[in-house]
């Protein structure tokens, strides 16, 4: 088990209705992709995290891939493709 902080931004934050949460992530959800699937499985508004949707992630403020490993104390963020500049 790994306690991580999870942040949501922009349209994804509005869709799931949550800015941030602290979650005890089971070992089998120890990657960005697995954590995303776990959150999506909550159903309802959380389907905004479904596989077909364009969702990006960062771990400890660095862009991450689905296979990026998550460790206790990490800050994981989910957000839509960026649109700055």
């Amino acid at each position: 088990m790994a306690v991580v902080k999870i942040l949501y931004f922009a349209s994804l934050r509005e869709a799931v209705g949550c800015d941030q949460e602290t979650l005890d992530v089971p070992d089998e959800a120890g990657t960005v992709g697995a954590l995303r699937a776990l959150l999506c499985a909550r159903g309802g508004d959380w389907s905004a995290l479904e596989g077909g949707r364009a969702v990006r992630a960062a771990v400890n403020q660095v862009l991450a891939r689905p296979e990026t490993v998550i460790a206790a104390g990490d800050e994981v963020a989910f957000f839509p493709p960026v649109t700055g500049g």
Binding site: F9, A10, V62, E75, A77, P80, P81, V82, T83, G84
Partner: protein, 154 residues
């Protein structure tokens, strides 16, 4: 990141002329300064544009992009400023300025930083329109612009 290479995020507007002067102040080794300023475009009844960001990540991401540019080109100074918050049509959003010995490096690095900023830095735009607010969709052309640097080594 030393003094000549700076990134910042702020709600306040910026003074491009003062920033360009600061980049070159007291130096005679800089032959070229390329810069870019992005502004809020009006139209479709746009009332305002709000910029959200991921504060803990933003400056780190911008500094990382500048570091990548420095690996590719011999640069003498870089200044990146990105605004957040609510901006009206015509307002400045972002500026990137790059100082180098020659114009090729300055232009390329400035474009590179803009392309990467558009696709890697955690900012999101939301438009306020007469009918309500709407998040701006990412554009495939921005991904394509960033992707060209994957193979196009200078």
């Amino acid at each position: 990141m030393e003094e000549a290479f700076r990134v910042s995020v702020s709600e306040a507007d910026f003074d491009v002329g003062a920033e360009l002067d600061a980049l070159a102040a007291g130096r005679s080794d800089i032959g070229a300064v390329a810069s870019f300023v992005g502004r809020v475009r009006g139209g479709e009844g746009l009332i305002a544009m709000s910029l959200e960001h991921y504060p803990a990540m933003t400056e780190k991401a911008l500094a990382g992009i500048v570091s990548q540019a420095r690996v590719r080109w011999p640069l003498m100074g870089v200044r990146v400023i990105h605004r957040v918050g609510r901006l009206l049509p015509g307002a400045q959003i972002v500026m990137v300025a790059v100082a180098s010995g020659h114009r090729g490096a300055a232009f390329e690095a400035c474009e590179f930083i803009m392309d990467f900023l558009k696709t890697r830095a955690p900012f999101w735009k939301k438009e306020e329109l007469p009918g309500g607010a709407r998040w701006v969709d990412a554009r495939e052309s921005d991904d394509a612009a960033a992707a060209r640097w994957d193979t196009d080594q200078p």
